[in-house]
């Protein structure tokens, strides 16, 4: 199963994870 997130955010939004990285519920994915 997969979850796709699509969202609008300001240009300066940055992802806090890398492709292939394992994540857990509640872990920061990105911030401003």
């Amino acid at each position: 199963s997969t979850i796709v997130l699509v969202f609008e955010a300001p240009h300066d939004f940055t992802f806090a994870v890398g492709a292939g990285e394992k994540v857990k519920v509640g872990q920061a994915l990105g911030d401003l």
Partner: protein
């Protein structure tokens, strides 16, 4: 034939260079036209077809939905109590589950399907203080900025954002309204924290009314840790945006509406200005980009999903599709994988604009549950009755008429994937 096979001499001779060059040009032309070919219907919407190498077509010919349901049935069979700990430990060893964080004793899970949809102990998943957090345990497959309305599946292969989220077609039926029992609704709302537009509150504190004692179906299991309510401030947020405090507070309104007025005012959502009666496609505001992220849940992962942000879910679109595997192996080979598969697109908004979350089913996990939407039924019916791109839509305006949807806070449990 035998004589010809054995006695015909093999004579090798060089092809003319020009013929070889023409062949290469032809192959290159075919490859380019295949990657750029976008078939559209009479309304200009892209027609999604199965495209990929031969083994993808072989898999596509299998009765995947029936296989998924059979898989679900087999895994719903009750296991003898003595076999449960051993069986689940073997499963955990093979698929890498951490049994230390499982909520219940292993003997209490009646079947593998029950264990698969397990809850975790309180506090097992702390919620980070960031605007966007992971909705699930899994692996980040891909992320980035959406350009020209297309999402990159893998390098060199894209799919349409409109196809993923759905496009309202002329003559399509109006969305159904999901009915929310008011008692349950109040329970859910009071348990939520709202930090839309940068203000963080316990709604219980915010609204100043006692929490009803009725039980709710959407009670979060992994809640954000209690936070002290922010100072009551109508005029500004930490991001410097102005909050419209002009929403009237009419004491004569019924309690539920008065609560919604209060909530809308406090979180800075202007209901009448921002409400969308229909959703067509994403239009990014100036100064913003539209981002995407794809998270893959492996068979051993915790399979409930949580809210990745504080947002309001306005509607859901259920696409009855195929149930291909969504493993990275398949994602590299099957174009439009996430558009072909059965999925539930939850559409709404957060403080920066549009927000959506799309759980996509797969062969082994064809069922998608949404806690606040008991009308939703996935992995039922026949695939052939639902052409690719069509969907059934429901709106959640009944959850909070003024917010026009179901409010969710970061980390709230939203639903999950079940076997079969």
């Amino acid at each position: 034939l035998a004589d010809a096979w054995q006695n015909t001499p093999t004579t090798w001779y060089p092809l003319p260079i020009a013929a070889g060059a023409l062949l290469l040009i032809f192959i290159q032309y075919r490859r380019k036209s295949a990657t750029k070919e976008v078939v559209v219907d009479e309304h200009g919407n892209e027609v999604i077809r199965l495209k990929g190498p031969w083994h993808v077509h072989v898999i596509g010919a299998l009765p995947l939905r029936n296989m998924s349901r059979l898989w679900g049935y087999l895994n719903s069979l009750e296991l003898p109590v003595w076999a449960r700990p051993v069986g689940f430990r073997v499963y955990a060893t093979i698929f890498g589950c951490n049994l230390d964080e499982v909520e219940r004793d292993l003997t209490e899970y009646r079947s593998l399907g029950d264990f698969f949809y397990r809850r975790l102990k309180d506090g097992a998943r702390p919620i980070a203080d960031a605007v966007l957090v992971s909705p699930a345990d899994g692996r980040v497959l891909h992320f980035g900025v959406i350009k020209d309305g297309r999402i990159e599946q893998v390098k060199g292969s894209t799919y349409s954002l409109d196809a993923l989220l759905g496009v309202a077609r002329p003559g399509s039926p109006a969305p159904a309204s999901v009915v929310f029992p008011k008692d349950e609704l109040h329970e859910v709302n009071h348990k939520h924290f709202a930090d839309i537009n940068g203000i963080e509150y316990s709604l219980h504190e915010l609204l100043g009314t006692p929490t009803p004692s009725t039980s709710g179906t959407s009670t979060p299991t992994t809640e954000a840790p209690p936070r002290p309510p922010a100072p009551h401030n109508h005029s500004s947020t930490k991001h410097g945006e102005r909050v419209d405090a002009s929403v009237p507070r009419d004491q004569s309104l019924p309690d539920a509406v008065a609560q919604d007025v209060s909530l809308a005012s406090e979180v800075g959502i202007r209901p009448t200005a921002e409400r969308r009666d229909s959703f067509t496609s994403v239009r990014t505001k100036p100064g913003n980009d539209t981002f995407f992220m794809v998270i893959y849940l492996a068979p051993g992962d915790y399979h409930r999903f949580h809210s990745p942000a504080s947002w309001v879910v306005e509607r859901r679109r259920h696409f009855v599709g195929d149930l291909f595997s969504v493993s990275p192996w398949m994602a590299k080979r099957l174009e439009n994988l996430f558009v072909l598969n059965e999925r539930v697109a939850l559409l709404g908004r957060w403080r920066h604009g549009f927000f959506s979350m799309v759980p996509v089913g797969a062969t082994n996990v064809g069922s998608i549950k949404i806690n606040f939407d008991t009308d939703l039924r996935t992995n039922v019916g026949r695939r052939r009755d639902h052409p690719v791109g069509t969907f059934t839509e429901a709106v959640y305006a009944g959850a909070s008429p003024l917010l026009n949807g179901q409010p969710l806070a970061r980390g709230d449990e939203m639903g999950g994937f079940c076997l079969g």
